[in-house]
């Protein structure tokens, strides 16, 4: 299943227009976990995956807890979930897998893609992966 996730999302209806690629990666090491990725897909995701150790676990969880309290939220879930990064060129998404601690799905597509469709596609892939 992880191998399947490493492929461009070209199978689903309309996904071709997204030109979306995604693959699982380690939050701890930043390594892509799908060794069968094509060079093209790897090149698009490697940089994003490599940043994971710097993005996750570097913010004091008690700090997020205190902020959650100020915002009226419940303390306890003090790690970031979905992270989106936008530029003129690309949309990058990091989606930690709730059922696989330490693993996140990293995804990239051109900035011209519909973000709503991209998020839907990524979440569908996460559900598929978690179901296995």
């Amino acid at each position: 299943m992880i191998r399947a996730l490493g492929q461009p999302l070209g199978d689903a209806a309309g996904a071709n227009s997204l030109d979306l690629v995604c693959a699982p990666a380690s939050l701890r090491t930043g390594a892509l976990l799908d060794e069968a990725l094509s060079e093209r897909v790897r090149a698009r995701l490697e940089g994003l995956a490599a940043t994971l150790p710097d993005l996750f676990g570097t913010l004091d969880p008690t700090c997020l807890d205190r902020i959650a309290e100020r915002l009226g939220g419940e303390p306890g879930d003090a790690t970031f979930g979905e992270i989106l990064l936008l530029s003129d060129k690309s949309l990058h998404v990091i989606q930690p897998l709730p059922g696989q601690p330490g693993v996140a799905l990293v995804a990239e597509c051109p900035a011209t893609s519909s973000i709503g469709l991209v998020l839907s596609a990524i979440r569908a892939r996460v559900v598929e992966l978690e179901a296995v």
Binding site: L48, T51, L55, L59, I67, A68, D77, A111
Partner: protein, 298 residues
């Protein structure tokens, strides 16, 4: 008729030292660590004091500071307020034991906004002097007497931002305006720049709803700065990001030139509204072109 010039005049007697922001952070963190309802006096021996009401700063004074509140009030108006009129009110207040600021507002010589600006500067300067002296608070004497108008009290975050703004007041004012125009209900935020002297993020503006402990605010700003740093390695143009946590909370961050903004949203809906507003800004300024496309479901 008084004309206030917010943030347009620096405080001339704030001690200039590279470690000032770090010292101020330590002092403000001490206030943050007090219980949320803390009301009373933070004593620094003979050097000065800070009066708090519900952990907000109402009044601060340091023996080493040169400016008095009345000087600030007089000089922030154009033309300056007549000295005689101000001193007459000062004398009366001293006899009656009433706060001079409110009396000046009552007299019509100063507007509420003008008084707030003057108090902000006065208290900020006092805290800078107390922090710069290296003194630690000797004691906190709590009392139950309240009565300071909340309009004229300041969170530690606000004081931190005010001192951070001194390096470039025009930039800080622009950032304050950006926050005011962009933030939505159920969100609060701050603007910051990188600063070697502060060894990380230097907060230069906050909106009034921002009452985070200063340590947490700086930590979030530093994380946001590193987010853009690492994003630069694979997409140098990344200018907008959103991170979710705790089910429905979200952090939205964007940058414009050398200023970065961070907003903390109490709901996904607030985050969506904020990004939508950024979209409007992007259309008019072109700064965050990527934001114009952002509108997908949270």
């Amino acid at each position: 008729m008084s004309v206030e010039r917010e943030s347009s005049r620096v405080l001339p007697s704030i001690p200039a030292s590279p470690g000032l922001i770090a010292s101020v952070l330590r002092l403000l963190a001490f206030i943050d660590d007090l219980p949320s309802g803390a009301t009373g006096m933070l004593k620094f021996g003979e050097s000065g004091l800070i009066l708090l009401e519900s952990r907000k700063i109402c009044w601060a004074v340091a023996r080493s500071m040169r400016l008095r509140l009345t000087d600030i009030l007089r000089n922030q108006s154009t033309p300056p307020l007549p000295r005689e009129a101000v001193e007459e009110i000062y004398r009366r207040c001293k006899i009656d034991g009433k706060p001079i600021g409110e009396a000046l507002v009552m007299s019509g010589l100063v507007t509420e906004a003008g008084l707030r600006v003057a108090l902000f500067k006065h208290n900020g300067e006092a805290i800078a002097h107390l922090a710069g002296s290296g003194m630690v608070p000797e004691a906190f004497v709590s009392h139950t007497r309240t009565g300071y108008d909340p309009k004229f009290s300041f969170s530690p975050c606000e004081v931190l931002a005010m001192l951070g703004s001194l390096d470039d007041p025009a930039r800080a004012l622009a950032a304050q305006i950006e926050l005011g125009h962009t933030l939505v209900p159920d969100s609060f935020g701050a603007a910051f720049v990188r600063c070697d002297a502060a060894a990380g993020a230097l907060v230069i503006a906050v909106d009034r709803a921002c009452d985070l402990p200063v340590g947490d605010l700086v930590e979030v700003c530093n994380w946001t700065a590193s987010l853009f740093d690492v994003a630069h390695t694979f997409d140098p143009e990344a200018a907008l990001a959103r991170a979710t946590w705790g089910g429905h909370l979200a952090l939205v961050t964007w940058r414009s030139k050398d200023v970065a903004y961070v907003s903390l949203c109490a709901s996904r809906a607030a985050a969506a509204r904020l990004v939508s507003r950024l979209e409007t800004t992007a259309k008019s300024s072109g700064v965050i072109a990527a934001a114009a496309r952002y509108g997908g479901p949270a």
